[in-house]
Symmetry: C2
Amino acid sequence: MEVGFVAINHIRCREEYRERFEELFRTRAHAIDRMPGFCGMQVLRPQKPDEPYLVVSFWESEEAFRAWVGSPEFLEGHRRGFEDMRAARERGEESPMTSEFVTYEVIAR
Amino acid sequence: MEVGFVAINHIRCREEYRERFEELFRTRAHAIDRMPGFCGMQVLRPQKPDEPYLVVSFWESEEAFRAWVGSPEFLEGHRRGFEDMRAARERGEESPMTSEFVTYEVIAR
């Protein structure tokens, strides 16, 4: 299965949340692995501290990626992170992380 | 060979250079493919027009990436792009593209 589409989630963590963030991915649910057209993922820690973490997912096509967003597997895979964000909101704290997806077509290899 | 290190080159092209830029990568020299510890690369075209292209290279280790930067293979692989930039400079024009490397350790898959 050839990678034709890549989604990069740029995640900025509060300093005190970084260790928890990394642990969530080291012990991830692997729900995304069940999606048709999923080709793999990488969690990337920047060497420059002011850059965001990148959560990169590789897909056969844009359609495969779109089918994942909002799916039960998407919710299962983000469950603990979403809970951490809700708990912070309920305590009146700012979010432990912010995220932004940017999507790409693979044009050469 | 497992990917442990990722280098992302963020490339902003002038509008009129985009087609040439994409062609350079579709017909790339494949010099980098000879480097020990090289695990593959992807050229990513953003779906949002204000985002840069990403040239992503996957490496076994940081050492493998560092050995490539400045190597004969690095110069060979960038030859036509560097020539385009030099030609623009000699004509007194601004550069057809700018680039910035950001490097990452893979902490989860």
